[in-house]
Symmetry: C2
Subunit: 121 residues, 2 copies
């Protein structure tokens, strides 16, 4: 059988909680995760992995120590490894996130938002 | 300055030719490429890299030796390394494609569609 298509709408319909990534696939040593953002995350960085954000619905902001970026569907933002950042979403935003396999969602800065074990959906 | 947002609409507006990927960013040793598909590509595989297809506008099909998948915006398709495939698009389809840095677009099977040196836009 050929590889299955990942239908993001079905994946996002399968959960409603915020800041709790689910893994939907694997790509060259990275995990493809789906996440719903709402509110303000905690500052963190990933020492060994770039992180990619692709909003699918809603808008979000990414705060950096030296500025802020706004993201909407049709945009892609790469956060280079080692760069402190935190996500902010005034309204719910659903996004695809790529990061190295097993990398904690809060990187090297554990917080109440850390999800040590991610489900696969 | 914080990292720049990649606006895919601007990237796709910057070129019109088919089967000629442009690099728009780098992610953990992979290139993020934008491509416009129209017609039928050549059969090929990538021995050492998974390949990820994320349609942004239009629809496309991915043919495999054992079947076919259809893709539209909101879908993601991972083609595992070593898997023969070819893209087909009856109407133009614009897509984001991820693959290892430097990997030829036709993998180990050069054809008239091979683009040895990709531009960055």
């Amino acid at each position: 059988m050929p590889p299955e298509v990942i239908h993001l709408g079905e994946k996002f319909a399968a959960f409603s909680d915020h800041w709790n990534p689910r893994i939907v696939g694997d790509y060259n040593g990275n995990e493809m995760r789906v996440v719903k953002f709402k509110g303000t995350f905690t500052w963190h960085s990933h020492a060994e992995s770039d992180e990619l954000f692709i909003p699918v619905s809603g808008t979000m902001k990414m705060e950096f120590r030296d500025g802020m970026r706004e993201l909407a569907p049709g945009d892609v933002l790469l956060v280079p490894r080692g760069t402190e950042h935190r996500s902010v979403a005034e309204q719910e935003c659903s996004a695809l996130v790529f990061i190295h396999e097993g990398e904690p969602n809060t990187g090297a800065q554990p917080s109440a938002y850390t999800r040590p074990k991610l489900d696969r959906i």
